[in-house]
Symmetry: C2
Subunit: 214 residues, 2 copies
């Protein structure tokens, strides 16, 4: 653990904004990109189940196709990197056991010790009213937060993008066949020097309207 | 912008885990807590609408009541700080105008320049199939990611908690009357020296199963 100065964290979060126009000539250095990928892998999730897949789309023709399914927003093709955040579309006993097996592999936990956890997870996913899409999407957004935070701390720009045709993404990427659904997209790279949004002040409600003390 | 070393970021994310037992005698220093609050205020959200409220619960009697609505999990009373992340339960023209007014106040943007944005937001929220709960909850989880990330970078422990009776929380905190709904809880403080989970290795699927390259 190497504590980071809080003022640096906050300065960098204030520096961050949702880039509208990337400099298409600049690429994120490999070591920084590796850190972003590692950070989203390390994101926590409900029961630790990681109900997600992160699709890193490097193929430029594919990015051009996805741009059409994204209201033609330029970030899809012009950012250094594009990631499609997909959520698991169902949670079956197989998903639960994949996680249990992984715990055993990493921690050498005896399987019988995990029986209660397994039953609890299976119970949660078969409970009436359980909405796998809502549940998994929440986890994916937490990972999106880790993505944006990591980029900002390294001085890498990014833009989270909800304005996409998720069903069309699923088709283009053939995600449904794998049991995943497009949830949200993130682009990362470096802002263009003439991005109109870059110089504008960040808009937040006053703290006293957002934070309530009891 | 003060770039942070990627290896420090990742070390601290690896150090982070979901604390099961807090040291109830240790409090988060004020400056660190202020940074955590500021970080969640700075979290990005869809259209920048910040459809959330963060309830910081200091009252110990109230925390005891909430613990009963949380499967009696000890973190609710024993952590240094408890935050209830609530989402906006509806998005009306009033919510949209609150945001538009704030943009004008901060950026001096002429109102007519924002007319198109206003129409777009109103259209999104009145579109058939728009699910305000799903949409707002996703944003809240992104902010939860910012909370956990900030704590970890400062060496502050935390635990995100979904295992709560959200409807009961709403009643206890009278959130529905304000137009909000309990979404998830986060506790923060310092791990107890005998927390059983602290020494266990983090469990993640192999990177090649989580990240797919195209």
């Amino acid at each position: 653990m190497k504590p980071v100065d809080p003022s640096a964290l906050l300065d960098n979060l204030s520096w961050r904004y949702a880039v509208k126009k990337f400099d298409s000539t600049r690429k994120i250095p490999d070591d920084q990109w590796a850190a972003i990928e590692r950070a989203i892998i390390l994101a926590p999730s409900s029961f630790g189940l990681q109900p997600w897949k992160f699709m890193v789309i490097a193929d430029q023709a594919l990015r051009t196709t996805l741009r059409v399914a994204s209201w033609n927003q330029s970030q899809i093709t012009d950012a250094s990197h594009l990631v499609v955040f997909a959520r698991r579309a169902e949670m079956t006993a197989r998903d639960v056991d994949r996680h249990i097996d992984r715990i055993i592999a990493i921690r050498n936990t005896p399987r019988e010790v995990l029986a209660e956890l397994r039953t609890m997870m299976l119970g949660a996913f078969s409970a009436p009213g359980f909405d796998v899409n809502a549940w998994a999407a929440r986890q994916v957004y937490l990972a999106l937060g880790f993505f944006l935070y990591t980029a900002a701390q390294m001085g890498v720009d990014a833009c989270p993008m909800e304005g996409i045709d998720a069903a069309r993404y699923d088709e283009i990427l053939n995600l449904s066949a794998q049991g995943y659904r497009t949830t949200v997209v993130a682009t990362a790279g470096f802002r263009a020097s003439d991005d109109w949004l870059a110089p504008l002040a960040k808009v937040r409600f006053p703290a006293e309207e957002v934070i309530e003390r009891r």
